[in-house]
């Protein structure tokens, strides 16, 4: 029944999409009509929602900026996690202990007191996931911390690396579920199955493999052991090689350490063997530079100074600061007066603003061996939004519209909140209060149009006729929709202008009367022969207005 209904319903929906009516579809299946009809009506209801086109989005860009900001934040977080390796607290014990010798002594005493030597001994065979495993790791870290001799420390580091690998194999063979990490050279890479330091691991699509990992690379691998014994690699990254024992002169070893020590030295080049075993004789008390190491599995151990003296990687302490970019160089930037090195690993986030001198940058950096700063990430911050400060000025209204005005050379956005007092006219003086937005644009808050107080009347020759603006007797005369023009304007014609004197010296015409040409009526007795026709006409036709070209009048 349901199978029928599924296909009948789909068939009806398809037919209705091609124009069939609901009733016609239902009529084809009378046995299913009672069940079919309400479902088809529902389909029509739902489709009515989808038939209204979505209005075009107004501001998807704001969402884009939000997403990119979030991405930048996650990127920094991700990088920090990669650098910190997310070590559990007991693995960070050295960092804590290194702070002071007193703290070290205190920690040792506490360790012995609280845990007791027996507990530490019992924990020796524990594996990741065991309750006592942290105790074992603490013991190791304390041991490492208290080992001051560089050679012995390097030996211990190697021994601990080997122990981690043994633990990984043991966890795998016991098919327990745990998360652990170990270090070793990459022995082989075969399509999702790698061998690292003799430990087989499987990679998945989720495995993060750092740059530059090849066969022979010394890497740290973080794995999750599965219940079938598989060690699933979560992250593989090149690890700075552990400091091998110095093969040069070293202090006399303590009693009981005179036996040769087997050390694991990462193979510098890809080889078929995972590691090169070097048997090192205990260093003598002389300063013989070469203790003649003999290789057991490699014919040429040749530990060169560069290979043997690789310093332990410095503990990375994050330094964060922010400030203006003072200088951008090829390899170094100066930010807030501090020089940071920028290399290929530096993440430079310009999603919010472009890097430029003067821009603000947030920096996360670490110190290199020389104490210099190496930038891990630099985020170019968007320019600070200038707080909207009132901006007041006076200026002539150059033009005005519903959305924008130009006053005194400034473009002003007009919003529904803009308070406009007075009737704007081109050329009138306006007192403006505006706010400047982050992009530099001005939004008018208040505009007070100052009406002209002086009315003038004059007459003269029309010297120029342009739309909205004439020149009469050298005076700019502006016309607007309220200006009344009587007569036929023409160049050279005489015009009488009544209007308002504007702040820019122009006159806003209220009324212009064009005088008809009357040159033939001019008589010498009425005006000197040298006068212009305008003067003649003025004298003839409207003598009362000839006394001053611009005189105040009362309406």
């Amino acid at each position: 029944m349901n199978e029928d209904m599924v296909s009948v319903l789909d068939k009806c929906i398809e037919e209705m999409e091609h124009g069939a009516s609901l009733e016609a579809c239902v009529a084809q299946y009378p046995a299913l009509a009672a069940q079919l009809e309400p479902l088809l009506r529902l389909v029509l209801d739902i489709q009515s929602l989808g038939q209204e086109p979505a209005p075009p989005p107004l501001n998807l860009q704001a969402g884009r900026r939000r997403v990119l900001r979030e991405a930048a934040r996650l990127r920094v977080e991700q990088r920090e996690q990669e650098h910190s390796k997310q070590s559990p607290w007991w693995l960070n014990l050295p960092a804590l202990l290194r702070r002071s010798a007193a703290a070290a002594a205190l920690a040792s005493v506490l360790l012995v007191t609280i845990l007791g030597a027996g507990t530490v001994a019992i924990s020796a065979n524990s594996l990741p996931g065991d309750a006592l495993y942290p105790v074992k790791r603490i013991g190791e870290e304390v041991q490492l911390f208290l080992t001051l001799d560089e050679q012995r420390k390097a030996q211990l580091v190697d021994a601990l690396d080997a122990r981690r690998r043994q633990e990984a194999l043991a966890v795998s063979s016991s098919q327990r579920v745990a998360e652990l990490s170990f270090r070793g050279a990459v022995d082989s890479i075969e399509d999702g199955r790698w061998t690292i330091g003799g430990v087989p691991v499987r990679l998945s699509d989720e495995t993060s493999v750092g740059d530059g990992v090849t066969v022979g690379s010394f890497v740290r691998v973080e794995v999750r052991s599965l219940s079938d014994g598989t060690l699933l690699a979560l992250r593989i990254a090149v690890e700075p090689a552990a400091k091998p024992p110095r093969l040069t002169a070293s202090p006399t070893p303590a009693a009981g350490e005179a036996t040769p020590t087997e050390l694991t030295v990462p193979s510098p080049t890809p080889t078929t063997t995972p590691t090169t075993r070097v048997v090192v004789q205990p260093a003598s008390s002389t300063s013989t530079p070469s203790p003649t190491p003999t290789a057991t599995e490699s014919s040429t151990p040749s530990p060169t100074p560069t290979a043997t003296d690789t310093p332990l990687p410095p503990r990375q302490v994050k330094i964060r600061f922010a400030g203006p970019i003072d200088e951008i160089g090829a390899d170094t930037w100066t930010i807030d007066g501090r020089v940071v090195r920028v290399d290929a690993n530096t993440s430079i986030d310009q999603s919010q603003a472009q890097a430029a001198v003067g821009a603000t940058a947030s920096v996360v950096a670490v110190r290199d061996d020389d104490g210099g700063l190496v930038a891990v990430s630099i985020i170019i911050e968007p320019p600070p939004q200038a707080p909207p400060e009132p901006f007041e000025f006076r200026g002539l209204i150059e033009n005005y519209g519903a959305d924008s005005w130009t006053v005194g050379g400034y473009s002003l956005a007009i919003t529904p909140d803009t308070a406009v007092e007075g009737s704007p006219k081109q050329g009138l003086l306006a007192q403006v209060k505006a706010v400047r937005l982050g992009d530099g644009s001005l939004v008018a808050v208040q505009i007070v149009v100052q009406p002209p107080t002086e009315e003038v009347q004059f007459e003269g020759l029309i010297q120029s006729l342009a739309a909205g603006e004439w020149i009469v007797e050298g005076v700019i005369v502006r016309l607007d929709e309220e200006t009344v023009v009587e007569g036929k304007p023409a160049l050279g014609a005489m015009a009488e202008v009544q209007g308002l004197l504007l702040a820019d010296g122009a006159v806003l015409a209220l009324r212009i009367v064009i005088q008809p040409p009357v040159a033939a009526t001019v008589t010498p007795s009425q005006a000197p022969a040298t006068e212009t026709p305008a003067t003649l006409l003025r004298a003839t036709e409207i003598p009362t207005l000839t006394e001053t070209a611009l005189s105040s009048i009362q309406r």
Partner: protein, 181 residues
Amino acid sequence: MQPDSESALLERARECDGAAIAELYDRYSLRIYNYVYHRVGNRNLAEDLTSTVFVRMLEAIRTSKAWRSSFSGWLYRIAHNVVVDHFRSGKQDRDLPLEDMTLPSSERPAESAERSITQERVRAAINELTETQGLVISLKFLQGMTNAEVASLMGKNEGAIKSLQFRGLAALRRVMDGEPL
């Protein structure tokens, strides 16, 4: 399968590469906005929820691998869940700004009000469906996709889509009739 360029883009997006994420946003934001708009019926809210979809995508792309089969289908699933979460959070009652509505000229106010109420009931009821049912109903009837398109997006065959369509509509009817699911 993703086209090569998109696969590369997605891999970069996993590492929170800003350019890759911007590219993905530019490619998909309008589609997701349209989808969300039809689910919520409000432009401002749809824009806001669209950005939430992408923020959630940023977080999920690093831990999930479901996007590998069909990124857009996965993104629609996130969008569905963002809408459902929004409605369940109860925020929809207080943050919906009024928008201008244009009534069809042939429609009387009473008819319009009735239609609007029905639409809101349908929208609310879709949020009560299971994720897959809700997605099938939305993609098919709100977005106008064919069974084949929905199947491709959701990584299922057409038979499964027809079945989900039937179950989704039946469940929707029960919700709208006030019956238990």
